[in-house]
């Protein structure tokens, strides 16, 4: 399988504040990778460098192709207030004929359960609904690479499950490569083929974990799967060693090796 995204020794500094301290990883085509890390560790910055919105201070980002979509963490500010919900979803589809644009927008709004709101303006919707509009817009674009920054943060639990399953389905149908930033450990395990665990700022890669679960996931059975539970607590331990946020990457890495050898020996 070829690589969709290669990140090599990526570092970013705002003024004299080092947000990202050197990240190296690759994402294979068709893969869904989750990024978890403490708040403020530079996850959004990472997505901004990947999407080309800011040039990283050092290191390289190379993408296969440029057909990408982003669901911003600040989804409310990323919707155009002068366009209807449908207009927002159609925004990136300008090159398509009108009828197809309509059809794609209608399909995506249907996916996120917002068909009835198509003619409304974004500011007439609740926060969770606006977030779904932003998701629908990204999905309607059918990007090769989809970058999502905490995309399900403001929806209720039920909707969140539905949107997670929608994401899994859509990316399988359209063979989309996805990078999802989330602060929800369960979500990272449920969605991901792989999980990247980042340290506190300046972000470094603490662990790059394969998710040993079958491709087909189910909200009830997957979440009670032994492998799910084990990986969840491992990620939790990586993020929060001994109950307080770890600062020392070396220590994390050591803890990681330990937990690996545990798994091997048991």
């Amino acid at each position: 399988m070829s690589n969709m995204l290669e990140v090599a020794d990526l570092g970013h500094t705002y003024g004299d504040y080092e947000a990202i301290g050197g990240l190296t990883f690759t994402v294979r085509a068709g893969e869904l990778v989750c990024v978890v890390g403490p708040s403020g560790c530079g996850k959004s910055t990472l997505l901004r460098t990947i999407s080309g919105l800011i040039a990283p201070s050092r290191g390289d980002v190379s993408l296969k192709g440029s057909h990408l979509a982003v669901v911003f963490q600040d989804y409310q500010r990323s919707l155009f207030p002068w366009l209807t919900v449908q207009g927002n979803v159609e925004f990136p589809l300008r090159s398509l004929p009108r009828a197809e644009r309509r059809a794609r927008a209608a399909e995506a709004l249907e996916w996120v359960g917002l068909s009835a709101a198509a003619k409304k303006r974004p500011w007439q919707l609740s926060g969770g609904m606006q977030q779904r509009v932003a998701i629908a817009r990204a999905l309607a674009f059918r990007p090769a690479l989809l970058l999502m920054d905490e995309p399900f943060a403001s929806v209720d639990a039920q909707t969140r499950f539905e949107l997670e399953d929608l994401l899994l389905r859509v990316r399988r149908e359209h063979d989309t490569t996805v990078l999802v930033v989330t602060h929800d450990i369960d979500e990272s395990v449920y969605l991901g083929d792989r999980i990247l665990v980042l340290s506190k700022s300046p972000a470094k890669l603490v662990a790059d974990l394969e998710v040993p679960l079958p491709a087909e996931r189910d909200q009830v059975t997957t979440r009670t799967d032994e492998a799910f539970v084990a990986l969840r607590s491992r990620v939790a331990r990586l993020l929060n060693v001994g109950g307080k946020p770890a600062v020392d990457v070396e220590k994390w890495a050591a803890a990681e090796r330990e937990s690996l050898s545990e798994t091997v020996s048991s």
Partner: protein
Amino acid sequence: MRAFTRGLIGIAGFLALWELLGRSPLLPADSLPPPSVVFGELVRQLISPDFISHVVATVLAVLIAIGIAIAIAVPSGLVLGSVPAVRHATRAVIEFLRPIPSVALIPLALVMLGFGPETKITLAVYAALWPILFNTIYALDELDPLLVETSRVFGTGRVGVLFRVALPSALPFVLTGIRLAATTALIVLVSVELMAGADIGLGYFIMEARSGPGRMDQVLVGTVVAGVIGVLLNNGLERVRRRWVAW
């Protein structure tokens, strides 16, 4: 509705005061005709083709002046607002030109352009430019960078961002600028008509009524009609803004 009622009470009070003042012996006779007289004259004038042509001349000039001002100020504002280098280069000139009252330019304009309608329209355009220009620049400063980033991520180029993001997001501010500009243009037009010996227009009508027969009731008819045009322009444009840009 209550605001409307209160407005009516205010107007009634104002008219009563005017009526009293007009009939009081404190002012020289006929210097301030009371509203009862003025409105009688107003009705007579409104069916006079001569008066209507003065009104039409002024209104038309206002509309032309606003149109030209928009055509100049919006594109300039977009350039000044999105290219900092141009903005810095022109700042000193703009800061110098802006505070010059249009009326102070009348002699210059007369010499340069003569006594035709182009003089008053030019001066009105000059006055109307600023609110539109500054509101457009301000609107671009207020443009949310995340909207620009969103469109860039989806592959929108620079020109696309300008027309599909910057312009629509600036629209509410631009429309407010146009509303302010319309009132300003009207003031300047009537002033120029009054002072610079035009041969048609509301200001000319007012001037003629005073200096010829000394008909103060006609002077006030002209004044009232100018005020009504101002209110209609202002409210009409406010309505357009509310209707088209509701966010």
